[in-house]
Amino acid sequence: MNAEIKMKQATRFAGQKENVLSRRAHVKAEDFSVFYGNFEAVKQVRCEFAEGLVTSMIGPSGCGKSTLLRAINRMNDLIPSCRAGGTMTFDGEDIYRKDIDVVSLRMRVGMVFQKPNVFPKSIYDNIAYGPRLQGISNRNQLDGIVESSLKQAAIWDEVKDRLNTNALGMSGGQQQRLCLARALAVKPEILLMDEPTSALDPKATAKIEDLIGQLRGQYTIIIVTHNMQQAARVSDLTAFMYEGTLVEFGETRQIFTRPQQKQTEDYITGRFG
C-alpha cells in the first residue's frame, strides 16, 4: 500500500505580518503645518495614520511630534499664538474646518498625557465624567460604562471594591490606567498618547504597553514616546520627526532594522549630533 502522507501546509508563519502599509487611513495629514507665532513647529507633514494600528512618533525634543499629536484633536487651539496650515482629515473630514465642533471631535479622539491627570474625585466619578457630559444619567448605564472601561484598562480588579474612594489615592501607574479608562469611557475611535509611561516604573510601563497591545485593532492608537524600545515594542508603524519635518515613516520593524534615511539611523542608534 502506498498511502501518500501529506504534511499540512502552513499558511501562516511566525513573524509573518500583514502588509500594514495597505490599511485604510483613519487620520491623514496633507502638507500640514503648525505655527507658534512665526515659528513653524511642524513643517508641511504628509502622512497617514492607519485604522486600528499603533503608530509611534519618535524624534528629539522639540522636533514637533507632540505638536503634531496634539493637532489631531485640536488641543493646540488652547495656545493663543498657535495656528495650523494645510489639511488634517479624520475619516475624510477636514478637522480644521470652521464648522467642526471641537468638543465632539475630542470625544472621538481621546488623549492620555505624560503625567496622569485624574480629577480630584472618586474613581467612579472620574470615569463617569465624560459619559455624563454626553447626557447619560441612567445609573445602570453609567455603572456598565464604568465597569467595562475599567476592565478594558485592566484596572477593574484592583479598584472594584473602592470605586467611591478618591482617585488621587491611587499609585501613579494606576492613575495612568484610570486616565486611559476615562478616555475609553466616551468610546473614542482614536487614542492619542503623549509619552504615557515616562512617569511610570517598568512594571507599570509594561502594563500600559500590554494594554496598548490589547486595544490595538479596536482603536487607532498614536503614541509619542522618547523610549525607542517602547516604540519598537508596541507599534506597527513608526514616524521619525526632526526639526518639524517628517523624515521617515514606515513599518516599525523596517525602521528599527534597516532605516532608509541616514538621519533616522543616526537618531535611533544614538549617534545624533
Binding site: F256, R258, P259, T264, E265, I268, T269, R271
Partner: protein, 222 residues
C-alpha cells in the same frame, strides 16, 4: 549611542578579527600538513583548536552582553547579529581544519599515494573564500561578499572531481583505498569550509544591505 557602546563594539570587533585570523591560519596550516605530510604541524593545528573554541565562547558572551545592555538597533543590531553568526561559522571552520589535520596525521603514517591536483586547488580556493569573506566583513564590501558566494560552486565542482578520482583509483588500487578515503574526507571538509565561508559572505550582505540572501542564488536576486 554612548561612547561606551562604541568602545564595546570596537572591542568586540577586535576579538572577532583575532579569532578569524587564527581560524584562517589553521585552515592554511592544516592543508599544508596534509599536502606536505607533516605530522607535527597537524598535531599543532589540532591542539590549537581548543583556543579557537575558547575565543568563540568569549565573542558570544561579549556580543550577548552588548545586546542585553545597549539594545542596539538598525546597523548596530545587524552588526551584532552578524558577529554572532559569523562567530559560529568561524568555530565550525576551526573544527573542520582540525579534522583535516587529523586526516593528515593518519595519512602521514601510511605510504604516499597520488594526490589529485584538484585537492590542492580546492584547498587554495577554500582558503581564499574564508579570507575574502572576512575581508568583506572588515571592509563592509558587498561585492567581495558576492564573489565568495559565486566561488562556492567551483569548490563543490572540484570536490566532485576528487570524489570521482577516489572512486576510480579505489578500484585500480584497492590496497590503498583507506588512504584515498581519508583524502576524500579531507576534500569533503574543504568543501564544508567553503560552505561556511559562503554563510559568512551572506551575513556580510545582510549587515550591509539589511536583506537576507540565504537560500537564493545570485541570479535570483537580479
Amino acid at each position: 549611542m554612548t561612547k561606551v557602546f562604541v568602545h564595546e563594539v570596537e572591542k568586540l570587533k577586535k576579538r572577532i578579527l583575532t579569532l578569524s585570523s587564527q581560524v584562517e591560519e589553521n585552515v592554511a596550516l592544516a592543508v599544508k600538513a596534509l599536502v606536505s605530510r607533516d605530522a607535527d604541524l597537524a598535531k599543532k593545528v589540532i591542539a590549537s583548536d581548543t583556543e579557537i573554541d575558547r575565543q568563540e565562547v568569549e565573542v558570544e558572551e561579549e556580543a550577548l552582553k552588548i545586546l542585553a545592555l545597549y539594545q542596539p538597533v538598525a546597523m548596530d543590531l545587524r552588526f551584532l547579529t552578524a558577529v554572532l553568526k559569523i562567530n559560529n561559522d568561524l568555530e565550525r571552520i576551526g573544527d573542520l581544519a582540525a579534522n583535516i589535520a587529523k586526516r593528515a596525521r593518519r595519512i602521514c603514517k601510511v605510504p604516499e599515494v597520488v594526490i589529485p591536483p584538484e585537492l590542492d586547488q580546492m584547498a587554495v580556493k577554500a582558503r581564499e573564500m574564508v579570507h575574502n569573506s572576512l575581508t568583506a566583513f572588515v571592509n563592509l564590501d558587498a561585492n567581495l561578499a558576492n564573489q565568495v558566494r559565486e566561488a562556492d560552486d567551483e569548490v563543490d565542482d572540484l570536490c566532485k572531481v576528487v570524489s570521482d578520482f577516489v572512486a576510480a583509483v579505489g578500484q585500480k588500487d584497492p590496497e590503498h583505498l583507506s588512504t584515498y578515503l581519508k583524502m576524500l574526507l579531507a576534500a569533503r571538509n574543504l568543501e564544508r569550509i567553503g560552505d561556511h565561508a559562503t554563510n559568512i559572505a551572506e551575513d556580510v550582505v545582510y549587515l550591509i544591505d539589511g536583506v537576507i540572501v540565504r537560500h537564493q542564488s545570485l541570479d535570483e536576486e537580479d
